[in-house]
């Protein structure tokens, strides 16, 4: 079997704990306009995104549909070809015991194969991502077969070990996906992702299709696996409450760009970007006492087209504080570091105090504090 997949104690060529470093990642899709004025247009699904995932940690990309988070996830593994950018991934060389960074965008077939062995992906829909004709054993063993790991007997043993690791029974190996519930199917997907002992797992909305009680089981499992195996996660999600729960760092995306990025507590306690404020204010809290006095920022209109994004700041058409005409419509804001590790792309970032003056706060108003339940 393969070597234990923690990198501690090895001589490494990289000088930090970065497992994945993405710089200026861009993905354009060509969309053709049909009809009389036929012309090629570009949809900028991902427009210059940069982030790092550190060893044993979780970076979440959060945003609404169409913000480019899933395309980013797929581009990282070159499941869609990036248009531009650099994606460095730490690969561990078993012979020399060294770790080095490989640029996934430039990687040839052999190198890409090595990368994909170490970086796996789990998708949202556990039904669509599992072949209904295959047994659980052949599904989970598939990566092992593809990478010619072990003998048939060794693979069968590894599959049983994996199933137990994700909270299933070894006896489940001979069954087909249809005999499992949604949560169990997602566990099968996770077992398959773990088969080759990857260092990074990309989780693309892994719990969005699950019921609340099952969602909690899967989130706890992912947390245990991360601690036991030292895994790094790139977590793609739209649910801010889930993101707050799982993340070490969070990047908020809007129309193909990261608009704010910070360590988890920093981002949730002191958001800077008006979009982050708006998103947070829109998430309902399961507590009628809090919902009773909480007021929301209701954003007007819809997310603009990524084919023709607005000039200047992409968020200005919906922003409650945009100065238009003015800097917000004229100049696209750069991602600027406002506090150590806390980046925001906004001409008028709202500091800590803005929370208490705008109706986003979780604190009850001073004059009408609710009676304790």
């Amino acid at each position: 079997m393969t070597a234990p997949h923690t990198h501690t104690g090895d001589v490494i060529d990289t000088d930090d704990d970065v497992v994945l470093r993405v710089e200026g990642l861009t993905k354009d899709f060509l969309v053709r306009r049909r009809g009389l004025r036929r012309e090629a247009q570009h949809l900028h699904a991902v427009a210059g995104v940069s982030f790092e995932v550190h060893a044993g940690q979780t970076l979440s990309l959060v945003g609404e549909s169409g913000c480019g988070k899933s395309t980013t996830a797929r581009a990282v593994l070159r499941l869609v070809e990036p248009t531009a950018g650099r994606i460095e991934f730490r690969v561990h060389d078993e012979e020399s015991g060294r770790a080095s960074m490989v640029d996934i965008v430039q990687a040839g077939a052999a190198e890409l194969r090595r990368v994909r062995r170490n970086a796996q992906i789990v998708f949202q829909d556990p039904v669509a991502s599992l072949n209904p004709r295959m047994t659980v054993e052949s599904i989970v063993a598939e990566p092992l077969v593809a990478y010619r790991v072990g003998t048939r007997k060794e693979r069968a043993a590894r599959v049983r070990e994996l199933l137990e690791q994700v909270g299933l029974k070894a006896s489940h190996a001979r069954r087909h996906p249809r005999s499992f519930s949604g949560g169990q199917r997602q566990r099968i997907g996770i077992a398959r992702a773990l088969a080759l002992r990857p260092s990074l797992i990309i989780l693309d909305e892994p719990v969005s299709a699950l019921d609340v009680s099952v969602q909690a089981q899967v989130l706890n499992l992912l947390d245990e696996l991360q601690q036991d195996l030292g895994l790094s996660y790139l977590f793609i999600a739209h649910d801010l409450a889930v993101v707050r729960h799982v993340s070490t760092d969070v990047a908020v995306m809007y129309l193909g760009k990261i608009v704010e990025k910070a360590e988890r507590s920093e981002l949730f306690d002191a958001p800077l970007h008006p979009y982050t404020h708006s998103l947070m204010s829109a998430v309902p809290i399961p507590d009628p006492a809090i919902e009773g006095y909480r007021k929301r920022i209701i954003l007007e209109s819809d997310i603009p087209s990524a084919v023709n994004p607005p000039t200047g700041c992409h968020f200005r058409t919906r922003c409650p504080i945009a100065e238009v005409p003015g800097p917000c419509s004229e100049l696209e804001p750069e991602l600027v570091e406002h506090a150590p590790g806390h980046w925001a792309a906004c001409h008028f970032p709202q500091p800590h105090g803005w929370l208490s003056q705008t109706p986003v706060s979780f604190e009850p108003p001073a004059d009408e504090a609710p009676s304790s339940p």
Partner: protein, 334 residues
């Protein structure tokens, strides 16, 4: 003060789906009532029977499904005994429903204007001109920008959130007294969800419409409903006014559910998780349906079904140990 007369009274309703593998008891003996203007949340996970409850009220149960027992009284009339023709007169005009996917209510080949005016001309005998005025006014009520222009647009020209608003406008055309909203924001992004819920709250208040909000999202209910009932495996296992139900859930399932949701206002470490998954509705467990997943199940729970919620009191709980759960116990309160 006079007690408000119930608008809707459901008594011991049973809706089964008769399949080759046996009867699927999707809704199995539920009782509840709703007053005029009340906002009631029906919460449950997939397969709990919440949507089948809605479809039963609307008379939308098709074979192999059937209402095999119980009654649904709307303003005193039993809807179960009505003919399809009689039901059609109630549907839309007195009780309207909106679904998760707005396209189930919209015809892709007609403009939204023609679909709205058709409804008004059939249900309210309006002239074309009157119908047009009412339709445009209603579009304005649901905050569709430039309604005169959008009136001529087809459903595909609207975004998801806008489409759901069009559906809400259509549901409100005949000024129903009860609006059933079945997962109305589940397919929407969180900012669109906030828009739609804000809109529904305003409309319900302005028009005095009673709303039954069916959802799996405990957060959405918290901000919208006065009363909540929790469904599990075809039964209502707990009901109460929202504030006390969320603050002091009596049923272990409700408690577990509330503790297993990550919250935006908390940095939790490990989530409480209810073990296992929902039971089969063909052969549900004997006794309490929740016992195989319950931390405090006893022999009594395995052998005897707890007294179901009667729908008579605001706060009820179908658990043998209701009222005793407030003392801390392992797991849920951790």
């Amino acid at each position: 003060m006079l007690a408000a007369k119930p608008l809707l009274e459901v008594h011991d309703l049973r809706t089964y789906f008769l399949t080759d593998q046996g009867d699927v008891r999707a809704v199995d003996g539920i009782s509840f009532s709703m007053n005029e203007g009340e906002r009631l949340g029906v919460v449950g996970e997939s397969g709990s029977g919440k949507s089948v409850t809605a479809a039963s009220i609307m008379g939308l149960i098709d074979p192999p499904g059937a209402i095999v027992g119980g009654e649904i009284r709307f303003r005193g009339r039993d809807l179960v005994s009505l003919s399809e023709r009689e039901m059609q007169r109630i549907r839309g005009r007195e009780i309207a429903i909106i679904f998760q996917d707005p396209m189930t209510a919209l015809d892709p080949v007609f403009t939204i204007g023609s679909q709205m005016t058709e409804t008004l001309r059939i249900h309210r005998n309006m002239t074309k001109k009157e119908a047009r005025t009412v339709a445009i006014d209603t579009l304005r009520d649901v905050h569709i920008p430039s309604p005169e222009k959008r009136f001529r647009d087809y459903p595909h020209q609207f975004s998801g959130g806008m489409r759901q608003r069009v559906v809400i406008a259509m549901a409100l055309l005949c000024d129903p007294t009860l609006l059933i909203a079945d997962e109305p924001t589940t397919a929407l992004d969180v900012t669109s969800q906030a828009q739609v819920m804000d809109l529904m709250l305003g409309l319900a208040n302005d028009r005095g419409t009673a709303v039954m909000l069916i959802t799996h999202d405990l957060g959405v209910v918290a901000g919208f409903c006065e009363n909540v009932q929790v469904m599990y495996a075809g039964e209502i296992i707990e009901r109460g006014d929202a504030k006390s139900l969320y603050a002091n859930p009596e049923h272990p399932y409700t408690r577990g559910l509330l503790h297993s949701v990550p919250r935006l206002d908390e940095e939790s470490k490990t989530l409480y998780s209810i073990r296992g998954s929902a039971p089969s509705l063909t052969t549900p467990p004997q006794g309490c349906r929740f016992w195989p997943r319950c931390d405090r199940a006893t022999d009594l729970c395995v052998s005897e079904r707890p007294e179901p919620c009667h729908g008579e009191d605001t706060n009820e709980c179908a658990c043998h140990f209701a009222g005793e759960l407030h003392r801390p116990h392992q797991g849920v309160d951790a």
